[in-house]
């Protein structure tokens, strides 16, 4: 009798945890996509929560400091880290992406402060939703700039 009670209690907790995990996963899942994939999917991903990365095109950056609205375009880069490594590292891949006019591009709109790291050839990692107008509305904007900081081996010019 007691045993059954304990087992029932345990099963109840298990069920609750499974429910919590699945409902919360569904409610907050974000799909990793690349610019190419977003363009290919088109309207079917409108309104879904997406996580997207792209190379920032420097001369498209515009900031309206009255409405705090930031707009810029990003060019497609691969979402696969090992692929990026194979193509010569992040800095190389970003530079290629920006200078390649045949790459797919996507306009991004973000309301908030202009991040200091936003500049041409930076990698923007954004979460948000694709609007009906084909513009990506980002809620969150993270930027990565491959700089000297990440170099594992010093430039030879540094020799004394």
């Amino acid at each position: 009798m007691q045993r059954t009670k304990f087992f029932l209690g345990g099963a109840l907790i298990l069920a609750a945890v499974v429910y919590l995990i699945f409902s919360s996963t569904q409610a907050s899942a974000q799909y990793f996509m690349t610019v190419d994939e977003v363009k290919a999917e088109g309207s079917s991903v409108v309104g879904k929560s997406l996580r997207l990365s792209g190379a920032v095109l420097g001369d498209t950056i515009q900031y309206d400091s009255d409405t705090l609205t930031l707009t810029f375009d990003v060019a497609h880069v691969s979402g696969d880290n090992s692929e990026i490594e194979a193509q010569g590292g992040l800095a190389e891949v970003l530079e290629q992406a920006v200078n390649d006019p045949t790459r797919q591009r996507l306009s991004v709109s973000y309301v908030g402060a202009k991040p200091d790291l936003l500049r041409g050839e930076a990698q923007a990692i954004m979460t948000g939703k694709l609007g009906d107008d084909g513009v990506f509305y980002a809620d969150e904007l993270l930027l990565k700039c491959p700089t000297k900081y990440e170099e594992a081996v010093p430039e030879q010019a540094a020799t004394k």
Binding site: G9, V17, S24, Q30, A113, K114, T147, V153, P154
Partner: protein, 686 residues
């Protein structure tokens, strides 16, 4: 010279560790006390050896030896000496040496005394500690050598430990420097605190395995390592809190915890460690849950290794690519191997670990402790699911999907609420047997008072029902806990005819774990007040202001006064600092100075908030942008974080509670025996 010396010593330590494992196994299986003694001595040799190697590394760091790759990566000429020393754990290779050094220190502390009555554990504790050391030292010696130097080979710079043919040593002019985000006093002690916690957990694990191997599966191993688990928990908790405080002070997003994979990696061993802390009490008092305790300590150990793997190289790598590291598979292999071997041992000793009695009542103290454990495990499962979900989804659907902070918040919030409710109920239930009636009698006054407090809050402060549930639970736990202190102290006062304060202090002194635990419960509730405040009531606004412009938020008015920007070439930093005046209801409260530090060497910004902290709320102002000198406009992001100070006050009390519980008793040998205590039990006394 120093590089070769340091590396040589590491290789020697590695060999000594291998020897000590073989000597200990041989000594234990052939019953040779001399071999065990030899293993013990080689174990004791590890600490001075690794210390020497660490000293060589620190020498290189402090003296700008930029021919060493690790020194080049984590230091630069402009860094002050204390930061150069702490850069030791600022990168992956160095932090692995640091880990090994701590483990050697703890293992020495354990093996340095003679063990008389627990001598059969000794060889196996040495085996576990040394095997862990072999793993970490092996990784340092083979994959992540901090003494690797740069060599000029045919016009290319290449990192190697020893000179390749036709190569000359290459010295860089200056190093990359420690990431500016990590140049913060909180960050200087945050990693060592976490590591202290991580490494301390190796010791209870080692004793648990020794107990399984020797078949001495009573609660001796738990009693021997009780303080280790408490101190481990202290350091781990302190490390987590420091990390949160650092994020609040430095990262400039107005928060303290972001459910980042690295944070979760440090949080998971804390969860199993906390469950373990509770469930060992059931084994000590009732002789139950022996299998469970073994599994918890094994899980904690595995999560500690896993957590070291995820956190090893600091904050920045957490954003994404930790899978690129060559040591990844090696780490996962070791975690898997130790899990498989440990679980096999548990299965082998399964019959010996049977409980001595049975759990009878669903509301007894032990049943509620078990429930507490299940809830902690549930949080663990949720965290683990969140961390591995991108991998799982990619494997099964080909689509990479991630879950963010909302997932963790949504899924864990009901469980944390249930844990809080348990904190209110469990201290009132008795070992062995409790019923709804006995619990109700003990609880109704506190519950009623908590309900009244909640009603008052509903009328005056908030109508948010999640916040109200939270505040009700907080009030309930606080009242029940205070009532426990009060009742026990009154009872003692009557029996011993002392005054109330004497009674209270003597009572607490005689049962440190119990009352330390209650202090921790109280501190948890203070922290919960802060968390509810910032999570539910946080207000934010942002705006671009010209000089003299004002912005209103949450009862405060901020006015932008001026902006100054200057270089400090000695530190290699450009500072841009805004001055804003803060008013509330027209009364001037003072000025705040949010600023942005730009580090030339790493081309990176650091946003330092201006923060005005009170018990009621924090006004947290970030400078996010400024216009050229002519117009002197600036953009600010402003948060009002209600009640968040209670999070930090609670954290401090939390430390007090753990230290109180872990403080050595006058005579630790005189521990209460389980059977003797059963006789005089009332509902509240254990």
């Amino acid at each position: 010279m120093f590089a070769e010396f340091g590396y040589g010593i590491l290789v020697v330590s590695f060999i000594v560790a291998i020897y000590s494992v073989f000597a200990a196994v041989y000594g234990a299986t052939s019953k040779s006390a001399a071999m065990v003694e030899s293993a013990r001595r080689s174990m004791l040799l590890m600490f001075p050896l690794i210390s020497l190697s660490a000293a060589a590394l620190i020498y290189l760091l402090v003296n700008n030896h930029f021919e060493v790759a690790f020194v080049y990566e984590v230091t630069s000429r402009s860094m002050p000496t204390y930061l150069k020393v702490t850069a030791w754990w600022g990168g992956q290779a160095g932090s692995l040496v640091f880990w090994s050094w701590l483990l050697a220190a703890f293992a020495s502390a354990v093996t340095i005394r003679k063990w008389e009555r627990d001598i059969e554990f000794l060889p196996w504790v040495i085996v576990i500690c040394s095997t862990t050391l072999i793993f970490f030292l092996g990784m340092v010696v083979v994959f992540e050598n901090p003494f690797t130097r740069f060599w000029l080979v045919n016009g290319n710079v290449e990192p190697h430990m020893f000179a390749p043919a036709n190569a000359t040593l290459f010295t860089a002019g200056d190093g990359n420097g420690l990431n500016p985000l990590l140049r913060h006093p909180g960050m200087v002690i945050h990693p060592p605190m976490l590591y202290l916690g991580f490494v301390s957990y190796v010791i209870p694990y080692a004793f648990a395995m020794a107990a399984l191997i020797t078949g001495r599966t009573d609660d001796r191993w738990i009693r021997l390592t009780r303080r280790w688990s408490l101190w481990a928990w202290l350091f781990l908790s302190f490390g987590l809190v420091l990390g949160g405080r650092w994020a609040y002070d430095v990262l400039g997003w107005g928060g303290y915890w972001g459910w980042d994979p690295v944070e979760i990696a440090a949080f998971m061993p804390w969860l199993t460690g906390t469950a373990f802390l509770h469930s060992v009490m059931i084994q000590e008092k009732r002789g139950l849950l022996k299998h469970w305790n073994m599994i918890l300590v094994i899980l904690t150990y595995a999560l500690v290794i896993f957590g070291t793997f995820l956190t090893r190289s600091g904050v920045l790598s957490s954003v994404h690519a930790f899978a690129n590291s060559p040591i990844g598979p090696f780490f996962m292999g070791f975690v898997t191997l130790s899990l498989v071997v440990s679980i096999a041992l548990v299965i082998w000793r399964w019959p010996m670990l049977r409980g001595e009695t049975e759990m009878k009542s669903m509301l007894s103290r032990e049943a509620l402790f078990l429930l507490n454990n299940l809830l902690f495990m549930s949080v663990l499962v949720i965290c683990f699911w969140g961390v591995i979900f991108p991998l799982v989804s990619e494997l099964f659907t080909g689509q990479k999907v991630t879950v963010g902070p909302p997932f963790y918040e949504r899924a864990t919030a009901p469980i944390f609420a249930a844990l809080m409710f348990l904190m209110g109920v469990a201290p009132l239930s008795a070992w062995g047997h409790s019923t709804i009636q006995t619990l109700g009698r003990a609880m109704w006054k506190s519950a009623l008072a908590a309900a009244i407090i909640t009603a008052v809050l509903f009328a005056t402060y908030t109508q948010n029902y999640i916040a109200l549930i939270g505040f009700f639970l907080i009030a309930l736990v606080l009242l029940v806990t205070f009532q426990e202190f009060w009742r026990a102290a009154r009872a003692r006062q009557r029996a011993q005819s002392e005054n109330f304060l004497t009674s209270l202090t003597r009572l607490m002194g005689r049962n440190r774990r119990r009352y330390g635990g209650y202090i921790i419960h109280i501190s948890m509730m203070l922290m919960a007040i802060g968390i509810l405040g910032i999570e539910i009531f946080q207000k934010e606004t942002q705006g671009s202001l010209k000089q003299g412009d004002q912005l209103d938020i949450g009862g405060y008015t901020v006015e932008y006064r001026e902006l100054a920007s200057w270089d400090d070439s000695g530190k290699g930093v450009n500072f841009t600092r805004a001055t804003i005046d803060v008013y509330k209801n027209g009364i001037y409260l003072g000025e705040l100075n949010p600023r942005i530090d730009y580090y030339f060497d790493s081309q990176q910004n650091m946003t330092i908030p201006g923060n005005r902290s009170t018990f009621r709320d924090d006004l947290y102002v970030l400078l996010v942008d400024w216009q050229p000198v002519s117009s002197m406009g600036a953009t600010f992001k402003i948060f009002v974080n209600p009640l968040v100070n209670w999070l930090w006050i609670g954290s401090l009390l939390f430390l007090v509670g753990i230290i109180f519980a872990a403080w050595p008793d006058r005579d630790p040998a005189e521990e209460p025996v389980r059977v003797a205590r059963k006789a005089n039990q009332t509902s509240a006394a254990d």
